[in-house]
């Protein structure tokens, strides 16, 4: 039944955990819509024949409503609509809430390509490799205008905004290659801004990750895994060629190490560490040690949780939500930090908790999932 409706309605394959549930509601609503439109139209057609005009001077009697019919006509669609809404909202909350065990990938959109960066180090353009059966949280941002990350097969879409982070998540149910498109109009090559999600079995994924971290530094960026070399998807290739022809400042192809290690370098280069410490010592600004997901009291009342969104906001608009007890001296880093550098900084700050920071270089990143619950 599911397969029948899916093909009748031209829906793409259902490759994520929520695709099926979303589709089921889709079937119900669209069949009801078609049924109701036909019914109303049928009744109108019936009246057209039954009450056709018989003479030019024909008079008609007045018909008035009774309260019963009014209540019935208003109440029944209202209750049906609200029922759909609540089922849909239930699914929507699920789709909006990444599970705590999700792995993270940073996504940076730019005219007209998608770049994916893993906390473990590798980054790639046009190809997002994920393991099957594990929730993946995407942290999206954009370097220029608004883009929208859209995977039809997953029923997932999320805008990537410049100067801010948004998130979405999915869990792929079977290995395969899935088309990523940009859904928010972003200029000349909007319709060519494609990428692909390559869902690998957990073993293949682990092997690819090992290959990435072990190989020479030059190979770390966007190296196709073994299955992809055999049948490349054209748009993703295009996206990769595009970046190869016109490399830009944000590509950290020659950068070493994990994203957190890059973040540490960025912090040093941009002078963050002149005011912020990483070991818990209080200085001009709040320490980064244990900052991630800490609840901060704000100047002028209220609290805020120092998540990705707040950290980004503090870099871009530091005076907006000032932590209590600190002078408003931090300058805005708007335009100073590239999106990928923000990602690296946040990843670095996230590692600064629960373990000493000298563990990073040797033992790999101390990596905390989403909200540390």
């Amino acid at each position: 039944m599911n397969e029948f409706f899916r093909q009748v309605l031209f829906l793409p394959e259902q490759a994520s955990t929520f695709a099926r549930d979303v589709d089921h509601l889709h079937y119900v609503i669209l069949s009801t819509a078609m049924f109701m439109a036909t019914l109303i139209f049928g009744v109108a057609g019936l009246f057209l024949i039954r009450y056709r005009r018989r003479s030019e001077s024909q008079a008609t009697r007045r018909v008035q409503t009774s309260l019963f019919w009014e209540v019935l006509f208003v109440g029944s669609p209202l209750s049906v609509f609200l029922a759909w809404f609540f089922i849909g909202y239930h699914d929507f909350v699920w789709m909006q809430t990444p599970p705590p065990e999700a792995m993270d990938v940073y996504v940076v959109a730019k005219q007209w390509m998608w770049k994916f960066t893993y906390p473990e180090g590798p980054n790639s353009i046009g190809v997002l490799r994920v393991p099957v059966g594990r929730p993946v949280r995407l942290l999206l941002t954009s370097r220029d205008v608004i883009h929208s990350f859209y995977v039809p097969a997953f029923r997932v879409k999320q805008d990537a905004l410049p100067g801010a982070y948004t998130q979405t998540w999915f869990e792929v149910t079977r290995p395969g290659r899935y088309r990523v498109m940009c859904a928010e109009y972003c200029g000349l090559k909007h319709s060519e801004m494609w990428a692909e999600v390559v869902a690998l079995s957990p073993e293949d994924y682990a092997a690819w990750l090992r290959e990435q971290s072990g190989g020479p530094v030059a190979l770390r960026d966007a190296t196709p895994g073994a299955p992809e070399r055999e049948e490349p998807l054209v748009p993703a290739r295009l996206a990769m060629e595009y970046s190869a022809e016109a490399p830009h400042g944000e590509l950290m192809t020659a950068e070493r190490g994990t994203l957190a290690e890059r973040g540490e370098r960025v912090a040093a280069e941009k002078g963050c560490l002149r005011c912020h410490t990483v070991d818990g010592t209080q200085h001009i600004g709040p320490t980064w040690w244990g900052l991630y997901r800490r609840e901060e009291r704000l100047e002028g009342g209220g609290t805020v949780v120092a998540d990705e969104a707040y950290l980004t906001e503090s870099m871009m608009k530091p005076q907006e939500k000032q932590v209590e007890g600190y002078a408003p001296v931090m300058p805005s880093y708007q335009g100073q930090l590239e999106a990928a550098e923000v990602a690296a900084l946040i990843e670095y700050i996230r590692t600064l908790r629960g373990a000493r920071r000298d563990g990073i270089g040797t033992g790999g990143p101390v990596y905390e999932p989403i909200d540390g619950r």
């Binding site: 008079a59 008609t60 609200l82 809404f85 948004t166 498109m181 871009m316």
Partner: protein
Amino acid sequence: MNPSTAGSLAEPDYLNHETTVRSWLLTRDHKRIGVMFLVLVLFALLLGGVFAMLLRIELLTPGPTIMGPMTYNRVFTLHGVTMVWLFMIPAIPSAFGNFVLPLMLGAKEVAFPRLNLASVYIYAAGAALTLFGMVWSGADTGWTFYTPYSTTSPTAVTPILLGVFIIGFSTIITGLNFITTTHTLRAPGMHWSRIPLFVWAIYGTSVIQVVATPVLAMVLVLVALERVAGVGIFDPSRGGDPVLFQHMFWFYSHPAVYIMVLPAMGVITEVVCAFSRKNIFGYRMIAASTFGIAFVGFFSWGHHMFVSGQSTFGSGIFGVLSMLVAIFTAIKIFNWVATMYGGAIDLKVPLLYVLGFIFLLTFGGMTGVAVATTSLDVHWHDTYFIVAHFHYIMVGSVLMAFLAALHYWWPKMFGRLFPERWAFVAACTIIFGFIVTFLPQFLLGNMGMPRRYYQYPSEMQWLNVLSTAGASLLAFGFGLIGIYLLWSLRYGKESPANPWGSRGYEWFSASPPGPHNFREPPRFEREVHDYTVSEAPHVY
């Protein structure tokens, strides 16, 4: 422009009592102003239609067909801007509202005749500036002008923004004029429960226009300032917030959908009564639901932003409120169909458009409920499903009602009858063509084709070809209408005062009406559309 010179010399009508160009350009007659608006919006419709055809031809093949991507991006922007701001928003209120609203109220004029004339020129100036922007360089932002693309795009967005800004004043003036007219110029005997439902619809629309248009004006000025002076309101690289634009823009542009659709609903109510020869079923409910839509329409803008990163809770609230709009619309649809019950129905061309309207509105409305369902909208947002949905509900209803009004009031406006058979053929072509154009786009959206796509995956081609075929039918239908209506202006049979035997109050005047609408003050002693007696109404 002057069809009825021959037979009516004895009694001058508004078309022939003065015939100089000057008398038209400086007229304060609401009927002539209505006709001027009609000519202007028809020109806008033609222009927008030509752009639409170019787009559909481009989309015949997955890759480039007749134009490059930059041209395509400009053409879809111009199609949207022209259709939304130059055609759909002013079409019914400014053209038909101006013509029939004072007649329906038994008034000699609108409340502010000079302002009314000004609104034509303001509209024309705004339209000219917009067209100038198009010819000069052509914006490529889409009609929604989303920042920061619109603030950084190298094309000439500013003249188009200012053009739309100016047109907004025309809208506000027209709205104010209608509100005041309805309050102060009703003929004796017309208390609030007898006001024709078309007037109620225009009144509700005017309230939205007066309240919401200033917000659009503000946001357009802010975008223009950002482009010209570099103030950092929307551009994040200057400390602004790109999503703020979306909130402000949709705060106007969502109610704007009802600025377009409510007058259309008003037309449908009049036409369904006239051709069913029945009193309207549930007068109070229809009037009340008009205001229900107008009110709730202000609180549902966030449903355009479910995937913009807005809070999950916020999305839920906007989703529920959007459902309420569907309920008010459902009330109207039920009432129109119920009006036909027990009537004496004559399936003439305007009623055919009403049937098209009911079908498109029901299907478009139900898909609206579907996209208000948050989880489904994630997949559909910014795809062709949305394109199909808003063409069904917004364009479909405005076009159907506009054509219904054009045919229903054509004898009233010009005193001529159009050839019924040709009109019937054209109406069938248009309704069928519309469905063939946009039904495949629902499926394209399901497949995952994002909107504003110049190129698309090749498996989506045949649905696009089907859609283009439908668009060609639509264009053919419009061509037909253009030909026979122009023909009828000169050669059409002269119309009697009330060719449809309608009991609508506007038919109490002669067709075409005299320069001062009525020869003697009309008395509206019955309720509007009262068909319990068979005599035709007296012409005042």
